[in-house]
Structures are given as structure tokens and as C-alpha cells.
Amino acid sequence: QQQVKQSPQSLIVQKGGISIINCAYENTAFDYFPWYQQFPGKGPALLIAIRPDVSEKKEGRFTISFNKSAKQFSLHIMDSQPGDSATYFCAASRADSSYKLIFGSGTRLLVRP
């Protein structure tokens, strides 16, 4: 029940295309859903995040879509660029003493020029 399942494991997209990464969770107590971007040899960096009272959040080319009833959320990268090539992690947390994040297994995105 603590898991966050992420798919696909890897994704290849042409420059200018749309990249879509999906995540699903079971624990309805989760109330914060961030996405992180990680480049090789670096720590993950927060990309965008959403709370379950919102169905969509957009920041530039990055959009989170959230479906509370299905317990699913997804990251859409519009007009994908070669510089977006990285590993993306979804995560979830709930309000308790630790606020620890439960991470998905990651998606390696390659954007071809």
C-alpha cells in the first residue's frame, strides 16, 4: 500500500513530441505528489508538484494531470527537447511526522534531436 508504481521504465521521444509518464498509488492518505528530474551524477531536482484537490497543474512545458478516483497521476512534457533527456521520478507523501517521500522506480527519457 506504500508503493508508487511508475511506467514506462524508458521512453524515447522525438524532439518536439510529447513525453508522458504515468504513476499509480494505493494509499489514499497520500496528499502531495511531486515529480523530480535527475541528470546523471546529480541529485534529483524538484520539477513540479500537485495536491489531490487539483486535477491539473501546468508550469511551462510541464503538466501534471491528477485523477483522484483512479489514484493515478501523470507528467506530460510538451515540445520535448534533447535537454529534457534525464530520469524522471514520481513520488508521494502524506502529512505525518516524517513527510517521507515514496518514490516510483523512475523513467529514463531520451529525446532524439
Partner: protein
């Protein structure tokens, strides 16, 4: 602004040797602190977290330990490293607060190789 520092960036250690990885945060007080391990091509596994000085919670039983001797200092240790301890170790911090929508911020990690 807040910054997080981890060192060393890379480390090669023999099996059975001790380990000490250090993480410090600047520009904030009483942060929540976290240690994660990331195996090659895998997700992040939470190892320890701390909500205050001397307060350590362990998520995964293993031969690693953590300590928080000062407010903004978090140390990951081992007395005797195993081959399975190889990986990318990441420290993270977040502001304390009542709401979960305060993000965790990660350092650039330590790449640990055990020979």
C-alpha cells in the same frame, strides 16, 4: 538561500572498512533530513530520516547507521562495509512545517564503490 552539501562526491572503499558520509544544510533551521540510497538504474530507497538533533528513524534494517550531532548536519556511517552497500547515496532536506507540500531538496550525492 538554502544550500545542501554532501561529501565526498566519490568514494572507493574495500569490503570491511568503515564509512562516514557527511551532509550539511545552510540557510535554514531545524530541517527534516533524509538519507536515500539509489542503486544503479533504480529508484530511491529511504534509509534514515531525522526530525531533530539526535532523533533518527531507520527505514531499512542493515549495517548502516545515521547520526545528527548538530541541527544541520547529518552523517551516514558503517562499521564494516559490505559489497551490497555500493550505490549512490543522497541526502535531502525539507523545511519543517505542518503541511506535506513542502518539497525535499537533494544534494548531489556520493558515489560509493565497494571493492
Amino acid at each position: 538561500s538554502q544550500t545542501i552539501h554532501q561529501w565526498p562526491a566519490t568514494l572507493v572503499q574495500p569490503v570491511g572498512s568503515p564509512l562516514s558520509l557527511e551532509c550539511t544544510v545552510e540557510g535554514t533551521s531545524n530541517p527534516n533530513l533524509y538519507w536515500y540510497r539509489q542503486a544503479a538504474g533504480r529508484g530511491l530507497q529511504l534509509l534514515f530520516y531525522s526530525v531533530g538533533i539526535g532523533q533518527i528513524s531507520s527505514e531499512v534494517p542493515q549495517n548502516l547507521s545515521a547520526s545528527r550531532p548538530q541541527d544541520r548536519q547529518f552523517i551516514l556511517s558503517s562499521k564494516k562495509l559490505l559489497l551490497s552497500d555500493s550505490g549512490f547515496y543522497l541526502c535531502a532536506w525539507r523545511e519543517t512545517g505542518l503541511y506535506s507540500n513542502q518539497p525535499q531538496h537533494f544534494g548531489d550525492g556520493t558515489r560509493l564503490s565497494i571493492l
